[in-house]
């Protein structure tokens, strides 16, 4: 056997293994979506069908009449968008200043930000809950937002980007031309950070969209649930069957998968850059 045929055979074998693994990885999600369209009888079928024999939207109708599903989705979208905006704003300006200005006190701030990044949210969310309670913002979007206003990693990411992609000369030239600091930030720095901010925005949005423990304790009225909390508590009800749960889950899943497919590069870039911390 020639070297080239051997190589080709190995590549085919690798492709076969990888394809099998990939299919296994997405199979649970495929079944979830397909179950949403099945009748109770068909859900019991073995082997399970991927394309339902007799697709029905009954599960979806039942969920929409059982729960304020659309309201929960609305809550989640609002909360995630506001959180993304806050995180992008605070990260952009703080990251820029920590990256380009030389005051000794800035090192202290940066050290504090990095140090708090190590502390998991779960560690301090109970005291934070009492702060939200004192402010009277439980069961509201503002209460949810309180936990997701800033992101240490976001500040870090933008700072790295500022250091690597914004030359000092550019800023100096603008200053010599008499540009104000705010103008420089708005007109020169922000446009150059577009890529990094895009990646961070996707991360921030999904961080809020998939948040669980914090919304679970902050939003305790049925109308204030986020979709994750609503879904999780809905499944503990007395009359819920797997068909309805699958339908509700599919409603949540399909938009996030679509978004992922569209923004895949930003996702991968965002995650990949978290690996380059050191």
């Amino acid at each position: 056997m020639s070297r080239r045929t051997k190589e080709r055979l190995i590549n085919i074998a690798i492709d076969a293994v990888l394809t099998a693994v990939c299919l296994l990885m997405i199979l649970p999600l495929v079944f979830l979506v397909s179950n949403a369209f099945k009748t109770p009888q068909e859900m019991l079928a073995w082997p399970p069908t991927i394309i339902p024999d007799d697709p029905t939207v009954r599960n979806f109708r039942a969920v929409l009449s059982d729960t304020p599903l659309l309201r929960w989705i609305g809550n989640s979208i609002l909360f995630s968008l506001l959180s993304t905006v806050c995180i992008l704003a605070t990260s952009a300006i703080t990251g820029y200043i920590l990256g380009k200005f030389r005051y000794r006190v800035l090192n202290v701030f940066f050290a504090i930000i990095l140090a708090t990044a190590i502390v998991p949210f779960e560690v301090y969310m109970i005291p934070l809950y009492f702060q939200a309670k004192a402010l009277g913002i439980l069961n509201s979007t503002w209460g949810l937002l309180l936990g997701y206003l800033v992101m240490s990693f976001g500040i870090f990411l933008i700072r790295q980007n500022v250091i690597h992609s914004i030359p000092d000369e550019l800023l100096e030239a603008a200053r010599i031309d008499g540009a104000g600091e705010f103008w420089i930030f708005w007109r020169i720095v922000l446009p150059l950070l577009r890529g990094a901010l895009g990646a961070l925005g996707v991360l921030a949005f999904f961080q809020a969209w998939t948040a669980f423990a914090w919304p679970l304790i902050v939003a305790t009225t049925r109308d204030s649930y986020t979709i994750e909390v609503g879904l999780a508590l809905f499944q503990t009800g007395f009359t819920v069957d797997l068909g309805r749960l699958s339908a509700a889950s599919a409603v949540v899943l399909i938009p996030s998968i679509t978004l992922f497919v569209l923004l895949r590069r930003n996702f991968v870039q965002g995650v990949a850059s978290t690996g380059l911390k050191e």
Binding site: L29, I113, Y124, A213, T239, L242, L245, V252, A272, G275
Partner: protein
């Protein structure tokens, strides 16, 4: 001047939503506070002493540790091999599909993803038991048995963590010096040998990083255990007791906030130790 003014809002938010509550956790852990009562007497380390002999806390700590290390043991070797294979096929048209398919479980919302697995593990309706019985094994009640339900949480968490680890390893593979590999190939080293003797040692810092991230998120596990182990049919599902669950129960069901705070401090301690280990190992690597 501009710099400090522009920093002010972020710093204020940081102080209010990060630094103050972290400080409060530390303070409360040394106090007895039962929400209902107004005063919070200082009791030193009494909360921690009580934790040491609390059977529920011990169960939570044990389960959480098993889950964290279980996910680690499944994820790291699998991710390393998969990343090597995907890297080998970087130039193929399928590479993008591989990356995306393995990564998807990491980005989909947690609760629906857990629902998918809940169906798989379901004792009566689930394909796992159907598969087992069709090949002659006895079906099991996966989500009710205390040992098996922990296993189910590990499977779910590993499925979600895998994509993240693969992406990070891919970044690692792309940064490796190709010259070393060419030299090894000229010396007649086979691909598995190059993987084992070159990639694995060279990627050690990445392995360390992914391990710490995986362990830390394993110790914070909550939603997965919550969704998998609470029963859909209203029967009192057997909870997989994890640290965060125990913490929330202590503060919101038993109204013992000080006690819950001391649990949070234990969690923080574990995370800090893991992070320190990572820094220490990286520094040693830098020296050698």
């Amino acid at each position: 001047m501009f710099a400090l003014l522009a920093l002010l809002p972020t710093l204020a938010i940081f102080a209010f939503v990060r630094i103050y509550p972290i400080g409060d956790t530390l303070r409360l852990s040394l106090h007895k506070w039962d929400i209902l009562s107004k005063n919070k007497p200082f009791i030193g380390f009494a909360n921690f002493e009580e934790l040491a002999s609390d059977p529920l806390f011990r169960e939570a700590l044990l389960n959480t540790t098993i889950i964290a290390f279980g996910v680690l043991l499944i994820t790291i070797p699998l991710a390393l091999v998969l990343a090597a294979l995907i890297y080998h096929r970087t130039r193929s048209r399928l590479a993008g599909f591989y990356e995306a398919a393995i990564f998807i479980p990491h980005v989909v919302s947690l609760v629906p993803a857990a629902m998918a697995w809940k169906w798989i593990f379901d004792a009566r309706l689930g394909p796992l038991n159907a598969l087992l019985t069709s090949v002659g094994f006895a079906p099991r009640s996966w989500l009710f048995d205390p040992v098996l339900s922990v296993l189910c949480v590990i499977v779910l968490c590993s499925w979600q963590a895998l994509g993240y680890a693969v992406i990070i390893y891919l970044v690692g593979f792309k940064s490796l010096p190709t010259s070393l590999y060419e030299a090894a190939e000229l010396d007649g080293a086979s691909a598995p040998q190059r993987f084992w003797h070159l990639s694995v040692p060279l990627l050690k810092p990445i392995t360390l990083y992914v391990s710490v991230v995986t362990l830390v998120s394993g110790f914070n596990v909550y939603a997965q255990a919550f969704v998998l182990a609470s029963d859909a049919q209203g029967a009192p599902g057997r909870q997989v007791r994890v640290l965060v669950l125990d913490m929330l129960e202590n503060s919101f069901r038993n109204y013992r906030v000080g006690y819950a705070a001391s649990e949070a401090v234990v969690l923080l301690g574990i995370v800090l130790i893991l992070t320190l280990v990572q820094f220490r190992m990286l520094r040693e690597k830098g020296r050698s």
